[in-house]
Symmetry: C2
Subunit: 253 residues, 2 copies
């Protein structure tokens, strides 16, 4: 009986690779990956069978992975970031269950864009946050926009993945601004941890000046009502300032 | 001029360490850590100055880190999981800004409990999710419960960190059940990736049988309205089933 590892490789660079991820790929004899991700781990897949596929071929990739495992192979299915967060993990479990296939599946977690991108912006993610995909390929836009509204009403920090549909993005940001009723910081990161990385800091009033920069590999983080910008970083206070005096640094120490 | 790395070490075991994290600790001459985390990375800190502190001494840890950096040291401040998600990153940025201290700060992201724990449960995190801390040490419980309600109304998968206050946890789960109006899967993981790890799968109707097991290092994930349990794993469908036929596995291939 084979096995499937569903592996998160993090944001893409080698620096976010985990020891567990390296081990899982080493142990696998078949690699199933979207073409771009296969390139990102090319240095790890020498001598293995590498099956690549285009975007939107997720069902094909999951089917191949499960069938290869049934044939006795150890298969690594590659996702960027974390394999659960809009990656291949859910689909593989779902298909294995629906087809009554008994194959061992192990998830190797990775650093998802929310955390990777937030690290580039300062510390926007230091309070409760909501992660929402703006891709309406599979989920109706009304369902997505309802979640955006509820997240804004709860004063969550909001992380928006896959802003491929510009009208939907504009409507989501309009709702957040309408609900929050105040101006809060917006961080935009394109191609995090890759060569062409771009980091943009704005607010709900000014972010649209970066609209032309936003594409599929952009992640957007909108702060909560207490987030602020200092030295071009977005900071979301954790709440210590509500109970402690934070003016305690001795600069001459 | 010194530098502060705010470093996420992931859930605790060596397997989730990233190459970037190993590099940052290697480069630092001062390590600032909560006692338990200092032990988890003991194999990496030989010959370095290690400053430990107890829980609830976060302000002290941030102060020491900033002052050491001002003295010219390279300092690694250690958080478990990701350093932004209820870790030290927000506090350090906030204090540096409030005290007008100009010191370089770099966040090294880590795998946060949401992703680490979800990997043990199947694939509960495959749709939009909300992360909420149930610690009311710094944040009023009404604010926390409002966020829980909004997350439930938005049908987010809900990840609950720090369930140290049992009455607050019971009230949060009551609200989720009331809003969702249906029974959904609940995953509970204690000490993920550590020796005494325990994984519990239940539903909103049955989870209380595990109440005595829940402590500070437990993370709870409540599925969305489409999550289901199969072979003792929680699966949240990604939405492919809305557009594609998933019964395509050839078991004899």
């Amino acid at each position: 009986m084979g096995k499937i590892y569903v592996v998160g490789i993090g944001p893409g660079g080698k620096e976010a690779r985990t020891l567990e991820m390296l081990e899982a790929i080493k142990e696998s004899d078949v690699i199933v990956a979207y073409t771009t991700y296969a390139k990102l781990i090319q240095d790890l897949t020498d001598g293995k069978e590498v099956i690549t596929a285009k975007m939107k071929e997720e069902v094909f990739r999951a089917k191949v992975a499960i069938e290869k495992a049934l044939q006795g192979h150890t298969v690594a299915v590659i996702s960027s970031g974390d394999p659960q967060v809009y990656g291949m993990a859910g689909l593989i479990y779902d298909m294995a269950c629906k087809n009554n296939v008994n194959v061992e599946i192990q998830i190797i977690p990775g650093i998802t864009a929310a955390n990777a991108v937030a690290a580039k912006l300062g510390s926007p993610l230091s309070m409760d946050f909501a992660v929402i995909s703006l891709s309406d390929l599979l989920i109706p836009s009304e369902e997505i926009l309802n979640r955006v509204r509820k997240a804004a009403e709860g004063d969550f920090v909001i992380v928006l993945y896959n802003p491929i549909n510009k009208p939907l993005l504009l409507e989501a940001m309009r709702i957040i601004k309408e609900v929050k009723g105040i101006d809060v910081p917006v961080g935009i990161v394109k191609s995090a941890y890759r060569e062409d990385e771009e980091i943009m800091i704005a607010t709900l009033s000014t972010w649209e000046k970066f609209l032309n920069k936003i594409n599929m590999i952009t992640t957007i983080i909108v702060g909560n009502s207490k987030s602020y910008i200092c030295n071009n970083k977005i900071i979301t206070p954790r709440g210590y300032e509500r109970r402690y005096d934070l003016h305690v640094i001795d600069s001459n120490s």
